[in-house]
Amino acid sequence: MIRIPIERYRLDNGLDVVLSREDAAPVVALNIWYGVGSRNEREGRTGFAHLFEHMMFQGSKHVPEMGHFALIEKAGGSLNGSTWLDRTNYYETLPAHYLELGLWLESDRLGWLLPAMTQEKLDNQRDVVKNERRWRVDNQPYGDWDERIQALMYPPDHPYHHSVIGSMEDLDAASLEDVEQFFRTYYAPNNAVLTICGDFEPAQARELVAKHFGDLPRGPDIPPIPGRTTLEPTLGGEVRETVYQDVSLPRVYTSYRIPPFGTDEYYTALVTSYILGYGKAALLYRTLVREQQLAQDIVAYAFPIVVGASMLVIWATARPGRSAAEIERGITEQFERLRDVEDADVERAVSLLAAERLNELQRLDERADQLSMYTQLFDDPERINTEVDRIRAVTPQLVRDFAARYLGTDNRAVLTYVPREVGA
């Protein structure tokens, strides 16, 4: 179909650099993945990787407070960052002639964040993040589902046991010393991938990367992920939780332990999730939403996470008058039909996934993010070009085997939300 061109090299200080040229529009996308996420947080500091991400936007030695945002906006660019279980990313899309501005900003906060750090900035962003938690989690129907599912699916000593957003208590406990220690531990060129995509001259880009990042010192080796990082392939039992909440309709989340992102079986899980839940022709939508009108909606999602095991989560909201138990039974019943999955089912899912992948690559920022991801997680940016082959390699037999092995009641967590006035 298409082939994304890739040049990859490494600076002496360990910074991994990926360049990918595409001159359709006079735009460049910069993206940095740091190999640190909520999985690296220590006990009592849940949510810290994300709070730290916020601090990276508060200026550095040569960039004033609010300067990072103001300079990018003044250049007509867009920017953001995000924290997830396995990583923290930072990115900006700029008019092509502002490439050096982006490199200067990114290198300054990687090299000189601490001189600009203050208690006042930390307290302010702590408040912002606590409000982010209220907005995403506490004041949202079913807003704590991922927190609860992670706690059910991973043992307390596994790094995925706690959520990215973290607890209010732990956010309150975060100190300037934590910021300093975290920065010195994880924010080093040897723990980062820098990707540049778009309209640039490769020789000039190499020169500018060397100019801004070349003199940053290599950091100490990155400590291993804390806690238990290997898991049995399946849960070996069922765990359940029921939550009574101020919601109008019951909702059920069923979650299955699956092999980690990047393994062959993960791609079978991904295709299976599309067979089950993606689009109006998907098995669960067709049956639970359309035919039986049990469910209002249905989603199936295979988490792209890499430590020990991933999860396939399926959730559905009950129609008025229908119960969580009916939905759960409905989902389990439909899983039986995966035994008879046919070529056409797999073909539909693969065709959707392939089209989706190609469509994502239209955007430079998405291209850059994926290149950083494949490099950071698998040491292989070329996977951006071979991902579709991995998806196409999934066969009906593989889906049947996968369902038999992983989609049983002895490998799942079931989280049920029940309207409070009915349940309590």
Binding site: L71, H97, W135, A210, Q296, S351
Partner: protein
């Protein structure tokens, strides 16, 4: 290597040339206007068939009509069942959507070039021959009613719905949610939907945009036979009623005891997309609440830490639309946050914006244009916007120049004309018991308690 002086902000290189899309305009035999833009980096095509009839045509008693009529388009045609449509699209690797906005109804498609022919045929079938079968109408109506019930759990939706109701009132289409209310959706049936759609789905009330790896002649050849039976006719005018005079600022608290946050909406009605002061308004809003470094976000987030984010927007619909400032703040900060929003609305009407703010906003908008033209879907949006609002095919050629021409005096003038903090609707969805007194103490207007919405004849769940 020499030591780099990091205190110096790197200068920009020479600005690149921005190529704006070239539009090929064709008139088809049916009377439909076709707009084609070639964009060939990837073998993909985006298509939209747009009808100039949207939710603005819904009388309040039938709110949700355009939305439900659009939602049903891909739920079965005269020759294809809903499941067949979904399976065909999936196997083509095509994404098909049908949706109504306040201004229009759009059936759209994203597909790989080699499969454009069969995908177009599917799109045309869905747009021109929907079945509106009774059982599908009934199913989607129930789904919509359940969605309305779910929206009552979402503070951000409750706040936005209440804001629209307060600003536009019960007699104006914009006063109701675009998807309707429980009462109005119950009143919709097959006859209403078919009548609405049949009267408006006409070639001269529509246009088609195609962007991607194709040329205009190919598209014309493919599409003409598919439209052979499409008859033209006059369509209803669908006038939008005028509004009454705005009321003095009042604070409406939609009460949810114990809420950890308050969802704020502050604003009033605003101008149409065709407003003569559009560019000054664009710059005004960017400075006020339209960017990360805007006044609202700087004060409420970066200075006060009250919120994860604050922003503002003009809806710029065809027939006017709201101006709204939005944020979600922690409960204890509700009154102070409302005070800050109203104060900033007043301040920007009294003092000229600084040269630095003006320059940043203008650069942000003008230099950001290429980012808005990256994908086939991006270009389609811009071309469709031009056509819907009658802006002209070369509108974006002058965009940068017109943004650059806005002065601080223009911004002040626009703010004085379009911001009215003395006649603002303030909606706070939050804990009345905790915030009513401080809101009253602001002294900006009366505080009125509203009950949290609940479905009137609840068909809630058994568990």
């Amino acid at each position: 290597m020499s030591v780099l002086d990091r205190s110096r902000i790197p200068p920009a290189g020479p600005p690149p040339r921005v190529t704006l899309p070239h539009i090929e305009r064709r008139s088809l035999a049916s009377g439909l206007t076709l707009l084609v833009v070639e964009k060939r980096e990837l073998p993909v095509v985006d298509v939209a068939l747009v009808t100039r009839s949207g939710a603005h045509a819904d009388p309040p008693a039938l709110a949700g009509r355009a939305h439900l009529a659009a939602d049903l388009l891909d739920e079965g045609t005269e020759t294809r069942s809903a499941l067949q449509i979904a399976e065909e699209a999936d196997l083509l690797g095509a994404t098909l959507h049908a949706r109504a906005t306040w201004d229009d109804t759009e059936v759209g498609l994203h597909v790989l070039t080699p499969r454009l022919g069969p995908a177009l045929e599917l799109l045309i079938d869905v747009a021109l021959h929907p079945a509106y079968a009774d059982e599908e109408v009934e199913r989607k109506r129930k789904e919509r009613l359940a969605a309305i019930l779910q929206e009552q759990d979402e503070p951000r939706v409750v706040a936005s719905n209440e804001f629209a109701r307060v600003v536009y009132g019960a007699a104006h289409p914009f006063g109701a949610p675009i998807g309707g209310t429980a009462g109005s959706v119950r009143a919709l049936d097959r006859t209403e939907l078919v009548r609405f759609r049949a009267a408006r789905q006409r070639p001269r009330n529509a246009y088609m945009v195609v962007v991607g790896d194709v040329d205009a002649d190919e598209v014309v050849r493919a599409i003409e036979p598919m439209l052979a039976d499409w008859q033209d006719a006059d369509v209803p005018a669908d006038e939008v009623p005028a509004q009454g005079p705005p009321a003095p600022t009042t604070i409406h608290v939609v009460d949810r005891p114990g809420a950890p946050q308050s969802e704020l909406r502050v604003g009033h009605s605003g101008p149409s997309r065709g407003a003569p002061d559009y560019f000054p308004l664009l710059v005004l809003n960017t400075i006020f609440g339209g960017a990360f470094t805007s006044r609202l976000n700087s004060r409420l987030r970066e200075e006060k830490g009250f919120t994860y984010g604050a922003g503002s927007s003009f809806a710029f619909r065809r027939h006017g639309g709201p101006f709204v400032a939005s944020s979600a703040v922690f409960t204890g900060a509700s009154a102070e946050a409302v005070g800050i929003v109203l104060h900033e609305m007043q301040r920007i009407r009294e003092e000229r914006v600084s040269e630095d703010e003006l320059e940043r906003a203008k650069s942000y908008l003008s230099l950001g244009l290429p980012r808005r033209l990256e994908t086939t879907a991006d270009v389609l949006r811009i071309v469709s916007e031009q056509e819907l609002h009658g802006l002209g095919d070369r509108y974006y050629d002058e965009y940068v120049e017109r943004v650059r021409a806005v002065s601080a005096a223009d911004v002040l003038d626009a703010a004085q004309r379009r911001f009215d903090p003395a006649h603002a609707a303030v909606v706070v969805a939050g804990d009345h018991g905790a915030i009513a007194k401080p809101l009253e103490a602001l002294g900006v207007g009366a505080v009125v308690r509203k009950p949290w919405p609940t479905d009137t004849d609840s068909n809630r769940t058994a568990s």
